[in-house]
Symmetry: C2
Amino acid sequence: MNLYSAPADWIWSGRYVITEDAQQRVIANGAIAIRGARILAVGTKAAIDAQYQARQRLDRPDAILAPGLIDTHTHAAMSLFRGIADDKNLQDWLERYIFPAEARNVTPEFVSWGTRLGCLEMLLGGTTTFTDMYYFEDVVAEVAKEAGMRGVLAETIIGFPSPDAKTPAAALASTEKYLARFRGDPLVVAAVGPHAIYTNSDETLKAARALANRYGAPLVMHLAETKKENDDQLAKRHMTATAALDSLGVFNGRTVAAHCVWVNGADLRILKTRGVGVAHCPSSNTKLASGIAPVTKMLALGIAVGLGPDGPASNNDLDMFEEMDLAAKLQKVATMDPRALPAATALEMATIGGARVLGMEKEIGSLEPGKLADVITVRLGRPNAVPVYDPVSQMVYALKADDVADVMVNGRAVVRNGRCLTLNEAQILAVAQEYGEKISRSLRGSPARRVP
Amino acid sequence: MNLYSAPADWIWSGRYVITEDAQQRVIANGAIAIRGARILAVGTKAAIDAQYQARQRLDRPDAILAPGLIDTHTHAAMSLFRGIADDKNLQDWLERYIFPAEARNVTPEFVSWGTRLGCLEMLLGGTTTFTDMYYFEDVVAEVAKEAGMRGVLAETIIGFPSPDAKTPAAALASTEKYLARFRGDPLVVAAVGPHAIYTNSDETLKAARALANRYGAPLVMHLAETKKENDDQLAKRHMTATAALDSLGVFNGRTVAAHCVWVNGADLRILKTRGVGVAHCPSSNTKLASGIAPVTKMLALGIAVGLGPDGPASNNDLDMFEEMDLAAKLQKVATMDPRALPAATALEMATIGGARVLGMEKEIGSLEPGKLADVITVRLGRPNAVPVYDPVSQMVYALKADDVADVMVNGRAVVRNGRCLTLNEAQILAVAQEYGEKISRSLRGSPARRVP
C-alpha cells in the first residue's frame, strides 16, 4: 500500500491486457483500475498497483483481459427457438416454422424468458453489449438491465400484424413511447427497428428514420441479406436495396445495417458516405446460404464493420468467439488469400469496430482511461489454450466462449469464475426447457422429428 | 435387480441415445450396456435395466449419449505450435515458420508432450479416435495408449531429411519396424504416411503402397490440398494429382486422403472406384485459403467422407464440434443451398462416416451391439444447449466440445465429468507452456510479436 495511491473500486490484472486502443497495445502482466462505471487507468500490474488502492481486486495471472465483446446484431429472445428448423430453404424456414412459431408463442413473457436465456449465454461467453431487434423490446430492455448487460435495443416495425402491433402506425407509436421511457438509461440505448425494405412501405421507413432522429436514437435494420431481397428491389425500382433506402433518406442518421451480403461497389460507397455501420453475421449467412458479405472490401473503404451471431434460430447460438473465428476464415477462403481478415482485425470487429458500428466508440470497445468499464477475462489454462505465441491470435482462433471466466459491465462484475451473478441460471434453463416443450406442441409435425 | 439379468461391466444412460445405426435411430431415455471392450446392447433405459445387471453405471438424465467422434486427419503433436504463425500465405507459413520450427524443435520428447496435449484436448472434446501423421509416430502410438485413445497413426515418409529420417529409404525402413511393432494392438492401427505427391518421388510413393499392403495397413496422405499442388502435377504430367497417384497404383489398397479440395469429376470417380476415404478439413482449408472441397458431390457419389481438424498450427484447435458445424455451413454457402449437408450428415461424417473412411465401420462409429464401446456423453444443461427440438441438430449447431462430460474408449472410461482420468492435465499444460517459450526463443522475430 502506497500512502499516495489513489482510490479505485476495482483492480483487475492478467497475464496479458489486450487494450484495442489506437496502437493496439497488448500489455504483458497488465492491469486496469476502475472507479464507478469507468476505467481509471490501464498499464502494467506493477504500475497500476503502485498508483491505485482498490477496494476489491481480481488477479488472473493465467488469463487475458480484453474489452467486452460487442454483438452488433441478434434477436436474443429467439433463443427459445434454437434449432427449431434447420437445413431448410429460407422461404420454408420463415413461412413454415419461424412465422407460425412466433404467431403462436411470442408474448411479453416469452420475450422476457427468451432474452434472459440469451443474455445468460452472451454474458457467460464474454458479450457485454448486444444489439437486438425483436417484439416487446421494452421487455428486452428490462431484462438487459436485470442482467446488468449493455444493449442497443430496437423495437421492430414491420408491415404486417406482429405479436406486439397490429399496424406499422401502432408500432411507430409504441416505439416512440419506448424511446421516451429509456432515454438517458445508463445501460440501454433504445433504438428504432424497421425490419427491412421488403417488409415495410416506403412511408413507414421514412417515418422510422424521422422518429429515430427526433430522439437521437439509432435505426437498426436488415439490409441486402439475400439475393432475392436485392433482386426484388432491382425489379421493382431499378435500384439495389441499398440505393433504394438511400434514396428514401433512411440512412440520414445513425444506422446499423445487418448482413449487407448483396452490395455492389456503388452500394459500399453509399454505406461509407452515409456512415452506415455494418453488422456482419457469418454464421447466419452461411447456415441460411445467404452468401458471403464482402467484408474485406468494406474494411478497405473504412466502413465500420462489427460482428453479430444473428438469432439462435439461424446459427444456433450466441457465440462471439465463433463469429470472430468464422469471419476470419470465411474471408480468407472467399478471397483465396490467407492474409485476408487477420486475427487482429477479427478481434477489432468484435470490440472497438463494433463500438464504431453503434456510434459508441468514445464510450466502449477498448480498455482506455475514461471509457466505460466493460471488461472480460479469458482463461489460458485449458488444453485448447496453450501454448500462447500471440494472445490476439489465441482469442480469435483457439479460445472459446467457455474460456471466459469473468465479466464486468459498466463497472459491475456480472460474471465471476464462469457463474452469472445477476441471473438465475437454473431457473432460466428449467423455464426454457418448458417453453421448448410448449412450442413443440404448438407446431404440428416439426419438433424432435427423429426421436421416437 | 432381476434374477435373470445378464452381467455387464457398465450401463450408461442418457436423455437421448444417438445411435448412428443404419436407421439413424435416436432413442429417448436410452441406455447402452457394455462388457469388456464391446457394446452388449442398446435400447431404452427401461429395457436395458431389465436385461442387464452392471457392476458400474453412469446415468446422465440431462445428456446425449453418442458414438465417440472420429478425427480422420490431424498432426496432434503440432499442438505445441498452436498459433505460431497465422494469417500468412502458405509458402511463408511453411517455409518461414513451420519447417524451421520443426527442424529446430521436433524430437521424440517434443512429439510425446505435443501428442499428450493433443490427446487431452481431443478426449475432453469427445474425440475417441484420431488419425495422425507426424514424425516419431511410434511415440505418438505410445502416448495414444497411455491416454487410452484409439488411433490410426501414420509414420511420415517425405523426400527430404526429416526430424526422424535422413532419407525416404530410412523412413520406409523405420515405418516397417513400426508396423511390425504395433501389429494387433487393441488401440493403435499403425499406418504408412507418404506426406504427399509433391514431397515424394514416384518410387517412394509406390514403395509406401507396397509396404502398407504387405502389413494390411492403411496408407494416409495429403491429396489435392491446394490449387498449386494440382496445377504443378498438371504442368508436369498432364494429369491431376489424383489421376497421377492412381496411375502410380497408390490407391490400390486402403487409403485415407486428407483435403481433396482440388478434385474434378474424373478425380471423384477415381476416389469412388478405388474406395479412397476422404478426410475433409474445413477449418484448415478456410484458414489457409486452400479452397472448399466439393463434399456434397463426394457424398452424392457414395465416397466415404469424414472430418478432420488438421494440425493445430493451421486451425488452431482439435475441436470436432467446430468441424461439424463449419462443414455444414460451408457447403450450404458454397452451393447456395441451405439444405446442403444437413446436421444429420455432419454428425454422420464425424462418426460412422469417419469409421468408413478408416475402413473400421464394423468396429466403431455407431452404438450397436457387438461394436467396440467408444461412447461420449454431451451435457444439455448449459445456456447454449436449451431448449432441445432435435438432439442431432443440437450436436452439430449448438453444443460445444466443452459440453462433453464423459468419454469411454474401448470399454474404458477415460474422461469423467470433464476430467481426464488417464493423462495428467496440470503437468501437460505446464510442460506445453515451457515448450512454447523454448520454441519462441528458437525462432527469431516471430513470437508474441504484439507483446512488448
